[in-house]
Symmetry: C2
Subunit: 727 residues, 2 copies
């Protein structure tokens, strides 16, 4: 069934443009769509095929022998126990408690194709309580995913394995997002569900609902305590994400013991306040029908997301450790594993999947392929009838950028009007929105300051989900994680915005963008003391350095219109590496010598009156201070010096250039170097060397008009000239 026929189906893999330089990648190209046989089926049965498949699934469900279900649930439990035991590391408690809901989701409810984990219309599952990842690995294994074979379970948490200590989408096909840091997953799920709602609203037709899937999450007490989950769930309620169904594993245990010691709020009441439908399953350990009924009820509620609070026992089945924190994050130990085997009547060897369980689950490979085939047939029909929409949707699904899209980016000459890069950014966003159907985003309640509104579109809201301006409210952390979900849903290109200093609020989500290869575009304005009067709470200082130190992220600080356009070109191209654009609040001139091509190299000379690659001095600036470097260069040249002025807009991109290119910009022999940047000098020694001078700000800012602070802090043309003469 799994033989590839890439040419005749949508392989629906996000286009790979940039990789982690150092982490291994699954070979996504091996995954595909349809076999010729399935295609034939599609042609013969058309839409009916779907109904048949679903009916069969439901029948199976209804007929499923409870003892077989129990056996399957125990298989999940023991695969988890055994893997943790073998690794002598991991979290058995959650999988043991959540195995019943896990079984019902993957075996009875969810629509997916194990042979193509990237099938576009699959239901999404997010294990927000990521430490319990053995639950998901066990389910992927039973369902027949290639990514989790028996040997993968046996190499849980080992070097180079596909079963790392927390779920990582870039390691394990079948895992949608990267979780573990608590609260991220539920917020990712809000993003996945929002993406579905958006695409469904844009592309579904009365006769063809081509976008149609659910998003399921399991989250625990830890996720519930994190502020990010409240932010994201407030938005989910606001947006009325009816196809988001979250299971709250209410086991009353967190690492420090009973949740009574720190978590006594009424989660139900809070979620009602957030606009969710709330259901309580009182017996999550063995109440299979209760769980099934809750899912049915949740699906019937179309205009609200649903929280199913499932009361479970952590470590269910372990006679001495269940319902205690000791089963949360450590192997049970040989003795307790034996006791648990006895207690649950499990006579099998470690890692054994009983034949009847294996047989029961084996239908998911053909069923999944049929589901995808059916959907492909539906898409073919859609394509016939709605050619334009189909092409657009296809480009969003695959993440393929339309040819020549970058021609839409504006360019500027030194004669163009001076402007703040936040405004120039808005010009880029609006230009790109016309040519990139997948571009959507917004701000954390600062749209009119971040300048992020797409003028041709309305607001993405409960009643207008087809629109592309997203109103995140003052919820930076949730915003970042929601954008990770949107980015990893398909080929959508999410951007989000706040003041640069408030990346501090969302840093954990930004790091997950970088780690999980989610090409989110972070539009961060008010990027220095140049914002003026709001003062030190609002003025970033250490933020540029802090992101330059982060792996797999692009920190870009454009100086004018051309550089802002260049930054967007880079950001859009990098679908597997997030970009942060640091943009000015204040007006900046269009500088001679800046270019999109220059930005693509990360660092380049914008002016130079030297020859033989031997200027007397190199002045280096970024963003709003490039103007100061350029002016200082002009002054020094008047005094007869040869001066090169370099824009170092992205350190990461510059680092990736050839040694020859880097030497051509910053020749090793020229040690007379002065840098200027309105931020911490930390890290600049690498650029200016031990003999150079870095002008920056190594204290907190101040509340005053911007010009005054620049002067008082010594970020001036005069200071650069003085330093240049000194070095």
């Amino acid at each position: 069934m799994a033989a590839a026929s890439a040419s005749s189906s949508l392989s629906l893999l996000p286009r790979t443009l940039n990789h982690h330089s150092s982490t291994p990648h699954p070979n996504r190209l091996a995954l595909s769509g349809l076999t010729p046989k399935t295609q034939a089926l599609r042609t013969r049965h058309g839409r009916r095929a779907r109904a048949t498949v679903r009916a069969a699934a439901v029948e199976t469900l209804e007929k499923a022998d409870t003892s077989l279900v129990e056996k399957s649930v125990n298989t999940i439990r023991f695969l988890s126990i055994d893997a943790v035991e073998k690794a002598n590391s991991g979290h058995p408690g959650l999988p043991m408690g959540c195995a019943p809901m896990g079984h019902i989701l993957y075996d009875e409810v969810m629509r997916y194709n194990p042979s193509n984990p990237y099938w576009f219309n699959r239901d999404r599952f997010v294990l927000s309580a990521g430490h319990g990842c053995m639950l998901q690995y066990a389910l992927l294994h039973l369902a027949g995913y290639d990514s989790v074979k028996e040997e993968d379970l046996k190499s849980f948490r080992q070097w180079g394995s596909r079963t790392p200590g927390h779920p990582e989408n870039f390691e394990t096909p079948g895992v949608e997002v990267t979780t573990g840091p608590l609260g991220q997953g539920i917020a990712n799920a809000v993003g996945l569900a929002a993406a579905e709602k958006h695409l469904a609203a844009r592309y579904n037709k009365p006769d063809n609902e081509i976008v149609d899937h659910y998003t399921y999450v399991i989250l625990g007490d830890g996720c519930q305590m994190e502020g990010i989950s409240n932010e994201a769930c407030s938005l989910a309620g606001h947006w009325g994400l009816g196809k988001l169904i979250a299971f709250y594993d209410d086991n009353h245990i967190s690492i420090d013991g009973d949740t009574e010691i720190a978590f006594t709020e009424s989660v139900d009441t809070r979620f009602e306040g957030l606009g969710w439908h709330v259901i309580w399953v009182k017996n999550g350990n063995t109440g299979y029908d209760e769980i099934r009924a809750a899912i049915k009820e949740a699906k019937a509620v179309k205009d609200k997301p649903t929280l199913i609070k499932v009361t479970t026992t952590i470590g269910y089945g372990s006679p001495n450790k269940a319902n205690s924190y000791s089963v949360h994050g450590s192997a049970l130990g040989a003795k307790e594993v034996d006791a648990t085997r006895k207690n649950l009547g499990w006579p099998f060897e470690p890692f054994h999947v009983p034949e009847d369980v294996k047989k029961h689950w084996s239908r998911h490979i053909p069923d999944g392929a049929a589901l995808e085939a059916e959907w492909n047939a539906k898409f073919a029909e859609y394509e016939k009838k709605y050619k334009e929409e189909a092409a657009e949707l296809k480009s969003i699904i695959t993440g393929e950028l339309p040819a020549g899209w970058d021609k839409a980016l504006p360019t500027y000459t030194p004669e163009s009007a001076a402007d703040a890069t936040r405004n120039l950014s808005q010009q880029c966003l609006n230009a790109l929105a016309k040519v990139l159907p997948g571009l959507l985003g917004g701000s954390a309640d600062l749209a009119s300051s971040n300048m992020t509104l797409l003028k041709m579109f309305g607001d993405f809201q409960k009643g207008t989900p087809e629109e592309r301006n997203v109103r995140f409210g003052v919820r930076e952390h949730g915003m970042g994680a929601i954008c990770n979900g949107i980015a990893l849903h398909s080929g959508l290109i999410p951007y989000c915005a706040t003041f640069f200093v408030f990346t501090d609020y969302m840093r954990a989500a930004i790091r997950i963008s970088a780690l999980s290869e989610a090409g989110v575009i972070y539009v961060m304005t008010h990027d220095s003391i140049g914002l003026g009067e709001d003062g030190p709470t609002h003025q970033p200082i250490e933020h540029l350095a802090s992101f330059r130190a982060m792996p797999n992220i692009l920190m870009l600080r454009p100086a004018d219109g051309n550089e802002t356009a260049g930054a967007y070109k880079i950001a859009v191209l990098n679908r597997k590496r997030p970009s942060i654009l640091a943009l000015s609040r204040q007006k900046l001139p269009q500088l001679p010598g800046t270019s999109i091509e220059g930005v693509e190299k990360g660092g380049y000379a914008i002016s130079d009156n030297s020859s033989g690659n031997k200027p007397d001095v190199i002045l280096i600036g970024t963003g709003s201070e490039l103007e100061i470097a350029a002016k200082a260069g002009d002054e020094l040249r008047k005094e007869g010096k040869t001066v090169r002025v370099v824009s170092l807009v992205s350190w990461e991109l510059f680092d990736e250039q050839s040694e020859a290119y880097k030497e051509s910009v910053l020749p090793a022999a020229v040690t007379a170097r002065v840098s200027i940047e309105a931020g911490s000098t930390f890290g600049w020694e690498k650029i200016v060397g031990t003999k150079g001078k870095a002008i920056g700000i190594d204290r907190f800012g101040a509340s005053a008009p911007a010009g005054k602070i620049y002067k008082e802090f010594g970020l001036t043309v005069e200071a650069v000239i003085e330093a240049a003469k000194a070095v």
Copy 2:
């Protein structure tokens, strides 16, 4: 009344040990306690004086002519309008809407002494919606605080003024904490109220409730949307902080417009879920009695914090801009200021305070002094009866450390058992808790991993608030901000803990610690890939660099027992500069040559077989990698090289040493330098120079046993030896 008599009263100023090196400081020493006259009063009237003062206040309140109240309220509005107008920058909308509740709080309800903003038993007020700071400046001005004179109002948001663009405790006496970044203030307030509840439980006696104040907050829609506020408010409910009263300025407007676009949850229901008492004041614009009644009701509820939702009109009084986002963050403009003056019947010049208003408010200086005098008298009685408790409380109030406290710190020899620095940290914490009565803290649900439990104490809980182990739950961001509140309450020394990587969740709060000079101790364990199997989501890489770049914070990475003790010595001494301790999960040997004194210098040689300050090579390590550097040094010495091994435990402290000392550790002439640290190499060029080599990790981590990752990532003795030979 304000003449100082520092020797005869508790001046109650936190002891200053470290300052921002670069920000101006108010002269706190000018503020003091009692005059001899007041002392006499105290002696004569004793406890009765208090009742008299309060009764007088209440009488004034009851008799207050509503038209005078209205006039006072309009004074607050116009001081705000005028200051923003003069600065042509700021946020008039909130002060105009919140003036009524502001007036009632500062004129009728709160107990404070304008002549001593640091009087210990004052009611605390936090403007969590910090952008509305002109409200607070106007109130401090009317109340008679020296820090906000008319000229200060006129220099709002100007260089060097005491009225910066957001409330900053280190600039403006009378401002308790630094707010502006939304949600921080309400979380700080939870910390202030928790500190009060804790101290009251520890020190109050049936006959003398020496600790007894309320904490009031104003927060807006923005604060409500931030996850941090949900985290902190969930804890406030859990802890039953009955003396925390929060006013929610429900004005339905945020920067992007009507809150309908992003914030439609039921805040009331959510807060009920969080265990708060909720009251709704429907007319916050003119419903003075409604506001008064709500406060009365809130005070009657002793076991729950109260949220008073006050529905107001943003920019109340502005005929054309009220109830719109345009009044949120910009000056009204001359025309609209005129229109507002007409509309509210305000014939006065800018910055004018009408005589009757001035006269009405003038009583707060004598009344405040009397309140403090009364409390001082009460303290004198307390001191007589409860000598030991009084001495301890006094030390907490003043933040004075007991003589010889640091003798309690453990020391180690190379023969002491190898141990993880997280465990050694617990030894320090437990040793210090015995000698530092103000030390309290806990973990974000990782106490058993962070090793932060104080064994001699129980849990700080609703029913046992006198205990000193704080259970924060999985709420890192709230935890950090709560600790800021605790640190700025008096002389308490809060510590808090999580995995080092999760500083990302609380970075905004940590930055406020640094900016607002809150000496919080951040105990951050699992500080590298050395944590092993949990994988890259849990392994910090860029975090050391990111904090080294942050102003006014100490990033400490101790290598063993002595260095951990040294790190605690530094952390405790620095009451105005937060410290982050990065600690290992894995066992580390006790190294020869490490010392507390060495840590105090930030960097020092732990071993050296060279002479004349000219080693062949310098090997530099921090934390868990110092062992690798030391071993490599031993090997190289066997080969006849002269090698210095340097521990660079804190870059900031090392930077602060004399040039001579620095030269003695890292002589400029020795360019053969190799550093090793299990983190980003970003910034290490400063230490190793252009000719040296930094061994580190410039990618994300991996899930595998720690030893395996170290080897695969090249963090080995062999790698150091090879690099040493190459440089």
